[in-house]
């Protein structure tokens, strides 16, 4: 990755609404260079999308989240990939990671109600033939995600004017 690409990613991950003109000023690269670099990052699937970070706890939307530890039997020639794909296709599944340690896949699931979530585990996930066991933990509160702290007031404690 070039220095310009690194700078652009640093800026955009903080705020992806900053227009190309401002990105050009901030990095000292020309508008064309910046436009090209951003397009390249998108093409190489380094930037996948531009989306806001939402704290759903501050909305009135009913929502439960769980992290499910899943143990599976890896398949010949496919390893864990085939089962991971089977799992991530469900709309309820937000993230799937292959993990080292005492279980194989970590699955982050979101549903509207506890009942919905329970039914996902019992009716959709567990019956998959290669799944040998699951352990579901519910998310009670989110403190920090993607480097953003959710529960602090970020008031500026600096003196308004100082020498």
């Amino acid at each position: 990755m070039t220095k310009l690409e690194t700078s652009l990613l640093e800026i955009l991950r903080e705020d992806c609404r900053i227009p190309l003109e401002k990105l050009s000023v901030m990095t000292g690269a020309s508008l064309e260079e910046v436009a090209q670099a951003v397009e390249d990052l998108e093409k190489r699937k380094i930037i996948l999308r531009y989306s806001p970070m939402i704290n759903w706890d501050n909305t009135d939307r009913e929502r439960v989240e769980a992290m499910i530890e899943v143990r599976v039997t890896p398949q010949r020639d496919m390893g864990f990939d085939a089962i991971a794909r089977r799992i991530y296709r469900f709309d309820e599944v937000k993230s799937v990671y292959l993990m080292s340690g005492s279980y194989d896949l970590l699955v982050l699931v979101e549903a509207r109600t506890l009942k919905e979530l329970a039914s996902f585990v019992s009716a959709k996930l567990s019956p998959l033939e290669t799944v040998t066991g699951t352990a579901t933990s519910f998310v009670l509160k989110r403190y920090k995600e993607e480097g953003v702290i959710f529960d602090s007031d970020d008031a500026d404690h600096r003196l308004v004017i100082s020498p």
Binding site: V25, R158, L159
Partner: protein
């Protein structure tokens, strides 16, 4: 009672800080965007804070040596030699102080005798001239200008020297202008210093915040200047540690020892907790090549470009500030004085900036704007200032 009869005449003669009035004005407005801050918008990196937390848990709450924890002085010695190629012995040539501010005061009190003249580039940080007066000296401003990128010129320095001149305060990278001195500029200054047999207090608190191709050159690294220089630095700006109040002074053991004498009688020592956090900052920096400093510098640099570009875009002259975290645009074309501009900007657009004149008469026609604030706030503030400025077109 007439307290005038009791107050120390020298202390009472110093006018109140020009920034104070503005502070009251700005603090009374709740939703103002302030470009008047003078410190990083980063919190102290957590690993440094954690070192202090652990020390408190472990009950390390005692005085330290007057000169500061030896571990900290050793780290400072390594840091200065590694970063700026100047070497000081931790035992005799380094004094840990309560912020660089105390170091400035001590250096002046240790060196200035009644009537000595001290040359101070103008505009500059607000405390130099008052501290010179408190020490019994006479502060002599040396004008710097936008035409010279607010660098101190050797010929201007030369003109200000009199038989009573004892020392020069060299505050670069500069607050409020953001000016830096290149190596060749410092070499020219060094010639004047040698010729007139002067000393230099080099306040390098912003040394890590230098942008562009060239890094910071320590004045003491210029040939012949090591023995003539008291180098002052600290942790506030580069390591985002303003509230910890830890700085230091380095120089000849004869000078440092007199500074330490004043320090031990008036202060005793800098707080242990702050010294522990500062030592952690340098130790961790040594191990990861000052990663946190670099991340912060790059972030400031992006915002610096944004702000300077915005000022130029609204037709204000703004020289390229290669240091610190301030832009110092000229507002002359509005026809307003710096004070008027800032007062009206605050009242009409709810944006606080500091009039250049708060830092000396040569700051007239300029305002100091700090870019250590969030990008979206910079953008909003710049839009409001552009709007304000356009009403004078």
């Amino acid at each position: 009672m007439n307290y005038d009869l009791y107050l120390n005449r020298r202390a009472a003669s110093v006018p109140p800080s020009g920034i104070r009035r503005f502070f009251d004005l700005a603090a009374s407005r709740k939703d103002a965007i302030s470009l008047g801050v003078g410190e990083p918008d980063f919190k102290t990196p957590y690993l440094f804070r954690d070192a202090a937390i652990n020390s408190l848990v472990d009950g390390e709450t005692q005085y330290t040596a007057n000169r500061g924890l030896i571990e900290l002085r050793q780290e400072i010695a390594f840091y200065l030699s590694n970063r700026y190629q100047i070497s000081y012995t931790p035992e005799e040539e380094i004094l840990v102080t309560i912020g660089a501010s105390e170091a400035i005061d001590l250096a002046l009190r240790a060196l200035v005798s009644d009537g000595d003249e001290v040359l101070v580039p103008d505009p500059s940080y607000v405390s130099y001239a008052p501290c010179v007066v408190f020490a019994g000296g006479v502060a002599v401003p040396v004008r710097t200008t936008q035409e010279n990128q607010f660098r101190l010129k050797a010929e201007d320095l030369e003109k200000a020297v009199t038989p009573r001149t004892k020392l020069l305060i060299l505050p670069y990278p500069n607050n409020p202008t953001g000016a830096v001195m290149r190596k060749e500029d410092l070499e020219e200054i060094a010639e004047v210093i040698s010729r007139h047999d002067l000393l230099v207090i080099s306040d390098e608190i912003y040394s890590e915040l230098v942008y562009g191709e060239n890094g910071h050159t320590a004045f003491a690294s210029i040939p012949g200047m090591y023995e003539r220089t008291v180098t002052i630095n600290g942790f506030s700006k580069a390591f985002a540690m303003t509230g910890w109040r830890v700085g230091y002074a380095c120089g000849a053991k004869e000078i440092i020892s007199v500074m330490n004498k004043i320090h031990q009688y008036s202060i005793m020592c800098a707080p242990r907790m702050g010294q522990i956090a500062a030592a952690a900052a340098l130790r961790i920096g040594r191990e990861n090549n000052y990663e946190s400093v670099q991340i912060m510098r790059e972030s400031y640099d992006r915002r610096r470009r944004l702000m300077v570009d915005a000022f130029r875009g609204m037709g204000l002259e703004c020289f390229e500030p290669y240091g610190a975290f301030y832009a110092f645009p000229s507002i002359r074309k509005t026809g307003l004085s710096s004070e008027e501009f800032c007062s009206r900007l605050l009242q009409e657009k709810n944006v606080a900036a500091v009039p250049g004149t708060a830092f000396g008469p040569s700051g007239e026609g300029h305002i100091r704007c700090c870019y250590a604030i969030a990008v979206d706030k910079i953008n909003i503030a710049m839009e409001r200032i552009a709007d304000f400025v356009s009403s004078f077109a």
